[in-house]
Symmetry: C2
Subunit: 161 residues, 2 copies
């Protein structure tokens, strides 16, 4: 497994395909992931504010994260996406991607990472994943995505060296 | 006082000036307000997702709001900005702008409005304003903007007719 900190031209397509292949994501979410990749490639990682971190196996992208500093904050980052290819799940790659993304965020001066997800049953595994990776629930906004579907916000303080 | 629901080409400058004239906003916040106006004018209100609502007095823009539907939600809107020119404050214009913005959001099918602000003393008047306009605090994330500065999130359900 190799990791890299940049997208290459044309890889928007792969970001969309990978996101679409994961059952948890809706079409409009796939489109948003693709748009962030478009922004990253057209404006550059720094100007766009959307940074990508990729896992590659034998030349194929099998997972990625997308993150960025939250505007008007100092060193607070949002993790927008973490996606692992279907047949690569359950082998610890998500955890490894998350840890390496946290390292990349720390290197940039990041101190806290926020992540948002749904309260619905379909996201139970996702929530458990964040909890097991040391993320704490800091808020739950009822009926946020739609009636009956709350937004759950998690946060992790990046441990000082 | 006249109100309108669109920005005109070149008015990015006025949005920046108006925002900069209000002591509560930092330089980087002024820049963000300007960028949203740029996006609105270059991509159009619908494609950009950033809608503007303006108050005009004798041909001069004296206040505005900027709002947009929150991605991945149904009918949930963020109020990104509400700005009233310094010497027009304290006369109920902010409340009127907010009420008319709520009407515009309802017309678009919006059901809830979210607004975020700082826990710092400098934003006490802002928080009181939202509370008096019927917004409820639904979350407080400590040390969000920086250490000691929490993000306070308010929400208002738009009353059904």
């Amino acid at each position: 497994m190799r990791f890299r900190t940049y997208l290459q031209p044309g890889e928007q397509r792969i970001i969309r395909e990978l996101t679409a292949s994961v059952a948890a994501f809706h079409d409009y979410e796939v489109e948003i992931a693709g748009e962030l990749a478009d922004e990253n490639l057209s404006k550059g990682s720094e100007t766009s504010g959307y940074h990508f971190f990729l896992a590659e196996q034998e030349g194929e992208i099998v997972g990625f994260t997308c993150f960025g500093e939250i505007p008007c904050t100092r060193g607070r980052y949002d993790l927008y996406w973490i996606v692992v290819k279907k047949n690569c799940q359950g082998k610890g790659l998500g955890r490894e991607l998350l840890r390496k993304t946290e390292e990349a965020i720390k290197t940039r001066g990041g101190q806290k990472i926020y992540v948002e997800t749904s309260s619905q049953e379909a996201y139970f595994v996702t929530r458990r994943f964040y909890e097991r990776c040391g993320y704490l629930e800091i808020g739950r906004f009822p009926d946020f995505y739609e009636d009956g579907d709350a937004k759950v916000t998690y946060c992790r303080d990046l441990p000082a060296e």
